[in-house]
């Protein structure tokens, strides 16, 4: 079993060269896309020790130490492209900050644009950046999970990530026995969905 998320001996963000970051909030329906995608990628693939697969939640500026330490950064997120729900897009390089700033819900959005901007000011913007974004269908369903249009894109998003990482020269190997999770097991998608209280519909 791989020990993703268990700390290296020095507990140091500098121990990683590549950061694969899922951001969003699993509690707000399609906002959970980034976390679910990064979880699936981690379950299915193995990476070298200097690659960190991270559930970044909505930590915003608190993710900065990890972003600054990275030389390559791949982000999964729900992004409002003003396109059909479930549309999947790959954005690379200088365009990423612009798309991270597109109108949408949740606080990590503005936060993450600031993170990239601050990383640049401190001279530590990763040399390679890519964003795999999906157009959300529904966000304001508190306690809800991914809608079908977005759920169907998790697998293609993971494939897209494998292609990007391979193009970056990173060893990506399929694995069938990776039980490590990127987040606490209580938030595992099956457990999360099955345990949802029945309140008869979505929240206001």
């Amino acid at each position: 079993m791989k020990t993703i998320d268990s700390i290296p001996a020095d507990g140091n963000p500098d121990a990683y060269e590549t950061l694969i970051l899922g951001i969003g909030n699993v509690l707000w329906a399609d906002e959970g896309f980034g976390i679910r995608a990064v979880g699936t990628l981690n379950e299915r693939y193995e990476f070298p020790d200097n690659v960190r697969v991270m559930d970044g939640g909505t930590q915003g500026i608190f993710l900065l130490p990890w972003v600054r330490a990275a030389k390559a950064l791949l982000i999964f997120d729900a992004v409002d492209f003003n396109l059909e729900p479930g549309t999947l897009k790959l954005i690379e390089g200088d365009d990423v900050p612009r798309f991270m700033g597109v109108k949408k819900m949740s606080m990590h959005q503005a936060g993450f644009q600031e993170v990239l901007s601050t990383a640049e000011l401190s001279g530590d913007l990763p040399g390679r950046i890519a964003l795999i974004g999906v157009q959300p269908e529904l966000l304001d369903d508190y306690g809800g999970s991914l809608r079908d249009s977005v759920r169907q894109q998790v697998e293609p998003a993971v494939q897209m990530a494998v292609n990007v990482l391979t193009a970056w020269g990173i060893d990506v190997a399929e694995t069938s026995d990776n039980a490590a999770l990127v987040g606490p097991s209580a938030l595992d998608i099956d457990k999360y969905e099955q345990g949802r209280p029945d309140f008869g519909g979505t929240t206001p």
């Binding site: 998320d5 559930d55 939640g57 915003g60 700033g101 959005q109 508190y142 606490p184 209580a186 929240t203």
Partner: protein, 597 residues
């Protein structure tokens, strides 16, 4: 209303022009502020509205109480650990689980690190720009900046060349045209009072604070197994300790503990040599700006935090004491009992929720979260595009928590006032010394800057407490006690069928409580009352206004189009409205609308 006096003694007048600021930038979450100005641009009425729904019941009911911490960690963008801690405490309280001594020490270290980290990030990255003009820093003389730095602190990064390098970097960044982090400020406003050299010094430390942040997260990684979102467990902490050479892989070993010790030293240095001197330097230019006191001179509340002894959350154990002060009477500190149904209650008469009887408040164990959205009769605009709220009706997604019916301010300043009034020697000495150095009376604390200063002083107190806690933990480990968790009652078959518990303590922003009701091993009801709900609270049935609302009153605005003064005061509370909305334009700029009617 045109002019009224509230029961808590504030005069409100809504006859003047209305200014709407939505959203307030550089905070976590979504907050809307509306104020009325008189003919001299002085704020005479203030309205604070949390504009997004949150209700934990809809995600937690029926779930395993041992998992609740993982969910509550996700309700907020930044205070993950403090929610997780109160959640495991609430469940431990309900089930009668006692945690081992080491778990208590480790939790204290995790919390102290989180508080300091949060305070530093808040000051440099969210709040400093309300006082520091980054653009003015470009015209500073690096040599004079170096002299200023050396006159206030022994911090070694102080050479003219160093400041010149930073200035060049900053110039390049600003000239690139993408202000990014520095957008949404009002550069050049006469409300900024620092000379260019002080602006350059503070901006330089903005960058150094980023490096500090990179270090302090390691404490969470070492004890919580991961960062972000460290692991927690009902019964203690989920790490094992092994200080023998041939320790188990993955256990916290001596090398890691030494790293923690080094990090504590670095934290003490940064806070005492950079953060606190910066605060004093900045404050010395704003001594005349003594607005924003609001409720702080009247009603303040703290649940207390950092128990010295495991499983003892009384003032005999709490290093930061609990208590409540009413009507500014520092000679009487009331005891707080979070289980008493008469003390902490939430009202919804001005909140977008429904109670069977909205004249009464509900204790969180009996809390109801039943949403009912709608605007008051005098609101302007539509349900989906509000131009102006009607504070006579329902106007916020935040409930109105009250202590014995009183609106209370919470946060570092409240903690410090309570500790001071309780005669806690270390804090009293630190406060008196700082005020004497700055030639200020105690009353100066009741202000926006007092709130900001208390946060910095508390960071220093907390950094030195980390050292004490660490030393005690090491002494305990060396005595042979390596237990970190008590799993005796982890199995649900050992639980009683119907129990209630409460986890309470202090988040960086103030008093935080989680109340849980467990029935047949599942969560029956779960309510959190978070610090920002206290501070950003709407009005209650008696007409008492909340802490944000009170703090904005009587503040003159230099320019009604540039709500710098509103940002300053609201930011001084370190707002965090969990699960919220930001509105961003397609160009990537945050659309803060400022409307004047």
């Amino acid at each position: 209303m045109v002019s009224v006096t509230t029961p808590d003694g504030f005069n409100l007048d809504d006859s003047g022009k209305r200014v709407v600021v939505d959203p307030i930038c550089r905070i976590e979450g979504h907050l809307r502020i509306e104020v009325n100005l008189d003919e001299n641009n002085i704020i005479r009425n203030a309205v604070s509205s949390g504009t997004m729904w949150r209700g934990l019941e809809v995600i937690l009911q029926g779930r395993d109480p041992r998992d609740a911490w993982a969910f509550t960690e996700r309700i907020c963008g930044v205070c993950t650990g403090v929610h997780a801690l109160q959640s495991v405490r609430a469940v431990e309280d309900a089930l009668g689980i006692e945690i081992p001594t080491n778990a208590n020490h480790i939790r204290n270290l995790m919390m102290l690190a989180q508080h300091i980290h949060d305070h530093v990030v808040h000051f440099y990255h969210l709040h400093a720009l309300d006082w520091v003009d980054v653009v003015s820093a470009l015209s500073a003389d690096p040599k004079a900046t170096s002299e200023l730095q050396q006159s206030i602190s022994p911090w070694p990064k102080s050479s003219p060349g160093y400041f010149s390098d930073v200035q060049n970097r900053l110039k390049k960044f600003v000239e690139s045209g993408q202000l990014g982090i520095f957008a949404n400020a009002y550069w050049g406003s006469p409300a900024y009072k620092l000379p260019p050299e002080a602006n350059l010094m503070a901006t330089t430390h903005y960058l150094e604070a980023l490096d500090f942040q990179k270090e302090i997260v390691k404490i969470h990684t070492i004890f919580g197994g991961r960062n972000p979102h460290p692991n927690w467990v009902v019964g203690g902490m989920p790490c094992s300790i092994n200080i023998e050479d041939a320790g188990a892989v993955g256990a916290v070993n001596m090398a890691w503990l030494n790293i923690v010790s080094d990090l504590i030293d670095q934290t003490i240095d940064f806070v005492d040599q950079v953060y606190v001197p910066d605060l004093k330097a900045i404050a010395s230019f704003y001594k005349d700006w003594n607005y924003g006191g609001g409720l702080s001179s009247k009603n303040v509340l703290s649940y207390g935090e950092f128990p010295a002894y495991a499983n003892n959350h009384t003032n005999a154990s709490l290093m930061m004491p609990a208590g409540a002060i009413l009507n500014g009477d520092l000679s009487t500190v009331h005891d707080v009992d979070v289980r008493d149904p008469e003390q902490v209650q939430e009202f919804v008469v001005h909140s977008w929720y429904e109670y069977p009887d909205e004249a009464v408040g509900l204790h969180p164990w009996d809390g109801i979260t039943d949403p009912r959205y709608g605007l008051g009769p005098n609101a302007k605009g539509t349900r989906t595009n509000i131009e102006q709220l009607d504070e006579g009706g329902k106007y916020s997604w935040l409930k109105a928590p009250r202590w014995r019916g009183n609106a209370m301010e919470v946060g570092p300043l409240s903690r410090y006032l309570i500790a001071y009034a309780r005669g806690k020697e270390d804090i009293k000495e630190q406060v008196d010394r700082t005020l004497a150095e700055m030639d200020l009376p105690l009353e100066a604390l009741f202000s926006t800057l007092g709130r900001t200063a208390a946060r910095g002083l508390e960071s220093s107190w907390q950094a030195h407490k980390m050292r004490e806690v660490y030393d005690e933990m090491m002494a305990n480990i060396k005595r042979g006690d390596v237990a970190t968790a008590n799993m005796e009652k982890f199995d649900p078959s050992t639980w009683e069928t119907d129990v209630k518990g409460v986890g309470f303590g202090e988040a960086p922003r103030g008093a935080l409580g989680h109340w849980v009701h467990i029935k047949d091993t599942k969560i029956e009801n779960y309510q959190c009352v978070v610090p920002t709900t206290w501070n950003a609270s709407p009005r209650d049935p008696a007409g008492n206004i909340g802490a944000y609302e009170a703090s904005l009153l009587d503040t003159p605005m230099v320019n009604a189009d540039q709500p710098l003064e509103i940002l300053r005061t609201v930011h001084s509370f370190d707002p965090c409205l969990a699960c919220s909305t930001h509105v961003i334009s397609h160009e990537g700029e945050e659309l803060t609308t400022i409307k004047i009617r």
